[in-house]
Each structure stands twice: as structure tokens, then as C-alpha cells.
Symmetry: C2
Subunit: 334 residues, 2 copies
């Protein structure tokens, strides 16, 4: 067993959208297995869009990681290499506080034993990980998608959006429409994720294409991008439609406040809007997995993975993620 640990860190405090050159790889002593916990040999770590804001200290009031010392935040999966608690060595676990590194210590209560079976462990960072939980919470707990719903989802090629559409379908949605950036992403959404339609917002006339796809009205909208898209979605909404407000990817790196949502449009559509913070649903993982792991095992909930092979490749893949050029869930394989 290695006595050292590799980790990716910030070179210096950040005040701009992270680029590949902002990261450094450092080697330190391998952490000890804590009393009452485990030492995990990570096999996959997630790269998450919100981390772009977090690295600048602008996500939910959480501090940015200390340059040159603390690993970039990410969730991880891996095998328990040492245990000083009830979790047996060799067990596969998921953990939030993994970070971009190859070993991570954790207390027993901070890991969750997983049973990948025939699935890749990486799936527990995408369709069955935080993105999947976010999608599940939005579609089943807030929008309460049911038979016959017509569902619109933006950032549909992303892990959250892609999972949301597939979970909505499994819950009985009559039609699932995506919005994504570029022809390649739109094809992924239609062909791999099985959406009925996907509008490429970079294409000429996309607003007309959306109006056509949404003719008859949508009953549910899942917003991941901006208040402008939400406002557009509201104009296509049937009375008493529901919108889940999940994220503002378009504004993560902007200093200007996002434009507001028109009050009169909400009243006119008798719409319900629901703010979603996935942290609130951490204690619902078992319920989420009970519904979604069978879907994943049956191939009805799939998320493409954009995998960096090793920590050295991670900064370049993260820069691609920040620029919206990733294709599916961005991960690091260790």
C-alpha cells in the first residue's frame, strides 16, 4: 500500500472562472484511517459545475479550499482499504467529502455503503449520485411528476437534466422536451436519454422550435440555467404548471445579479415555483436509490460520462466543464 497521497489543489486564491492552469498536483503523506471510520481508496471522483463558484468562495457561503493544501472538492466512490468501524474492508462506499485525491479518510457516518452489482461504481457519482438525487428530488418531491405531464428541462445534456427527464418518463410523463447547447448534446439527449425532443439553443430559430415542441403547453419545467430561460418556459406553461428552480448555471461566474422572474407571468399562469437545494434531500438517499437503482440496472436511467484518466488530466476536463463543452457527467478515474 502506498504511503503517499496524490491530490489536486488550487495554485492560488481564485477570482475568475477556473482554468486548467489554476490547478497543481501535490503529493503528501497518505492520511491515517480515523478511529470510528475508514480510509477509502477512491476509484472515481466527481467534477461538479457548482465547484466553479465554490473555488471562488461563492457557493452557499462555503469557503474555497486553501491553495496548495486542500484538495478540490468532489464526491467520490471507492473501496474501503482500512476500517476502524463496523464497515468491512473491501466494502464499496460513496462519500461527499472525497476531493480530488486518491485516498480519503472519513468517519463511519460520512460514508454510505453502495452495492454497484453489475453497474460501474462511477454511476454512483452521476445517475445514482448527487445529480440523480437532485433530479429525483425536483421531479418526484417538488414537481410531483405524474401520468400525462409534459415536462421541459434545460441543460438537458447535463447529469441533472438528463436524469430528470428519464425519471419523469419513468413516473409517467407523456412528453419530455429538452433544451441543450449544440447539435451533439441535443442528439445525446434524444438518443441516449430518450427525450421526445431536444431544442438546440445555439441553432437559428430555436425559440420557434421550442414553441412547436411545447405546443399545447408544458405542465412541468425544470430550470438549471437562467431566469431568462425560466421566463421563456413560463410563457409556454399551461395553467397551474409547476416549475422547479434548481440552478443558475449561466450566472455562476457573473458578478451581476440574475434578472428577476416576472411576477405577473406567475400570476397569469397560476404557476407554482419551487426552489430546490439538494442538500435538504441527503436523508432521502435510500428512498431515491430504491426508485432509481432498478431503473439504472434496467438501462432506463443512463448518464454519459466524460472521464479524465487520472488527476493530471482533471484540470483540462474541468476547464471543458466550465466552458460547457463537457459531454455528460465529468468524472476523474483514479
Amino acid at each position: 500500500m502506498s504511503t503517499t497521497m496524490q491530490q489536486a489543489v488550487l495554485r492560488a486564491p481564485l477570482d475568475h472562472t477556473p482554468q486548467a492552469g489554476d490547478f497543481a498536483l501535490v503529493e503528501t503523506a497518505r492520511p491515517e484511517c480515523p478511529e470510528g471510520g475508514v480510509l477509502v481508496r477512491l476509484s472515481h471522483v466527481s467534477m461538479d459545475p457548482y465547484v466553479g463558484a465554490r473555488l471562488r468562495g461563492r457557493h452557499m457561503g462555503e469557503a474555497a479550499p486553501e491553495p496548495l493544501r486542500e484538495a478540490i472538492p468532489g464526491h467520490g466512490v471507492g473501496a474501503v482499504e482500512e476500517s476502524r468501524c463496523a464497515i468491512p474492508e473491501g466494502a464499496m462506499v460513496h462519500m461527499m467529502g472525497a476531493g480530488w485525491r486518491d485516498y480519503a479518510p472519513a468517519l463511519e457516518g460520512d460514508v454510505r455503503v453502495i452495492a454497484p452489482g453489475a453497474l460501474s461504481a462511477s454511476v454512483f457519482l452521476s445517475a445514482l449520485g448527487m445529480p440523480g438525487l437532485t433530479a429525483w428530488a425536483g421531479m418526484t418531491q417538488l414537481a410531483k411528476v405524474t401520468d400525462g405531464d409534459v415536462v421541459l428541462i434545460d441543460a438537458a445534456a447535463g447529469a441533472v437534466g438528463g436524469a430528470a427527464g428519464q425519471i419523469a418518463r419513468a413516473r409517467g410523463a407523456a412528453k419530455v422536451i429538452g433544451i441543450a447547447g449544440g447539435a451533439e448534446k441535443s442528439a445525446l439527449v434524444r438518443e441516449s436519454y430518450g427525450f421526445d425532443a431536444c431544442i438546440d439553443y445555439r441553432a437559428e430559430g430555436w425559440r420557434d422550435a421550442l414553441a412547436e415542441a411545447a405546443a399545447g403547453g408544458i405542465s412541468v419545467h425544470f430550470e438549471n440555467v437562467s431566469s431568462e430561460i425560466l421566463t421563456l418556459a413560463l410563457t409556454h406553461m399551461k395553467p397551474y404548471g409547476r416549475a422547479v428552480l434548481c440552478g443558475l448555471a449561466a450566472h455562476y461566474h457573473s458578478d451581476a445579479p440574475a434578472p428577476g422572474i416576472p411576477f405577473g407571468l406567475i400570476i397569469g399562469k397560476r404557476a407554482s415555483l419551487h426552489g430546490l437545494v439538494v442538500y435538504d434531500f441527503y436523508d432521502r438517499w435510500d428512498e431515491f436509490l430504491a426508485e432509481c437503482q432498478p431503473l439504472a440496472e434496467a438501462g432506463r436511467l443512463v448518464i454519459a460520462e466524460d472521464i479524465a484518466d487520472g488527476l493530471a488530466e482533471a484540470p483540462a476536463v474541468f476547464e471543458r466543464l466550465m466552458a460547457g463543452r463537457n459531454r455528460g457527467k465529468a468524472l476523474i478515474a483514479l
Copy 2:
């Protein structure tokens, strides 16, 4: 029986906030009782804030009344003077399409028989009329107020806001806080409507007073005024609070769009926002009255009335309503 009808009309098309001088009184032939309907001798007619926008053709796409010919819109109550349907003469009825006039014809399906008992018939235009229905729909059907809720309501001295607070209380709210303009209105809200507190937004330091009254957080907000107040209310909201978006009184006469509602605040508070259009609840009158008429009879749902004595006095009272200087529900007694 009189063979003529008095009615209040616009002198000319309007393009400004209505003032007393914009109205005229005209006398025409008394309408006939329609086949399958009734002719109602109105005893009270409502003056409604939204009519300020309606008179300029700016409410829900409805046309303004034709100058010199069509009565100003208002709901009415009165006794059936002639009947050509199953409703007996002498029955008391409520009707939407009354207008500012002393006689109104209506088809049987367009009136609702009421049983005022010991209550004044005018109550069916305030606490048990459209304002009450609006309040009931917002509090019980959208916000679903229940035991322990802390409820904030603006325009609390108005009929909708005043009724909303009293209905919330009857449903078990732990605390009801109002916002109103001026010391006199605030006293009405506290003393007659029984709110726990009422913040006078015209007083120095009112934002601090609100923060103090709302310490610990509100769980429900009922918005009648502006997106600025809604935004302020959201800052005082507990996680998973609910807001009902009912009206934008502050913007009825503005040509500028109301500022939007901050997206990030909705997410941060995990708030749910619900647009309310009272028209959707017309078919729930029986349910509303079953809950609220006993409250009114018990003195637990009271709305002050600001009554114009006759059509001649109505324009001045309406101008006061437009300026926010009315005290309670504005009505015309005929």
C-alpha cells in the same frame, strides 16, 4: 316601481389613474327581466381596486366599459324584483355582473342566492364576497395554512388582506403579521382584524419593525402589493415557506414592468411561490361559504366597510380607493 335606471359611467376613454371627475351619472330606461333570469334591485355594489386597471383596458385582457353607455364594473347584492326563472321574487342574490347602477338583469346561472340572516347583505361583497374568496383560496388552497404557521400579509387593511389574516388564524396560524400604510390602517388591522402585529410601511424604521415582528421567520406570505415587498418577505422566510402571489396593487397604474423576483432567493429559501387568480375559484363558492359564513356570523371574520351613500358619492370614494386612502372595503349603498 321605477321605470328608469341610474348608472355611473366613464365620461370618456381613460389613460390615467381614474379620478372623481372621470365619471358621470346617467339615467336610462330600466332593463327588462330576461327570460330565464331575474331583475335585481341592487342594495350594494362593490368598488374594486382592479377596476382602476380595467377602466384603462389593462386587466386580464378585458375591455374597458364603453363611455357614457356601460356601467362601471362591480359585483352586487340585492333583492330579486322580478323573476322569469326558478328563483323566487324577494330572494337575496349576489351577482358578478352588477355594475354601478341600481337595477341589473341577469340569467339564473349568473346569480347566486345568498342567506344573509343577521349579516348585512354588504358582507357578501367583502368578507363573504370576492375579496373573501380570494383570501380563502390563497390561504387554504394554495398556501394551505395550518397549525403553527407564521403568516405575513401586505395590504392587510384591504378586504383581501384583512380576510386572509382572519382565515389564517381560524386555520390555526400561530402568528399573523400585517403590513399596511399609515397608523390608522395599522390600528384597524390589529384591533378589528385581530392581527398580532401590523407594520406601518410609511413609518420610519418600518423594515426594522418588520424584522423584529418576523424574528424566527415567516412560513407563509400573501402578496398583494409589489415584487419589492415580496422580495423583502422572502428574506424573512423560513426554509420551505410558501408565498401566494395575488396582486400588484403598486403597479396597477404603472407603465413600467414590475421588477422581477430574485431567482437565487427562491432557491436559497427553498420557497414555493403560487400564482393566484380568483376567477379559477368561482366554482368553489359553496365550499368557501361553508367555511367562512359561520366565521363571519361568529364575528371572527369582519371587514370594515367604506361606504358611498348613493351613486353620486361613488366617484369620490373610488378616487380615495385609487389613492389608497380608503379604510376597509369600498362599497356603494343604493
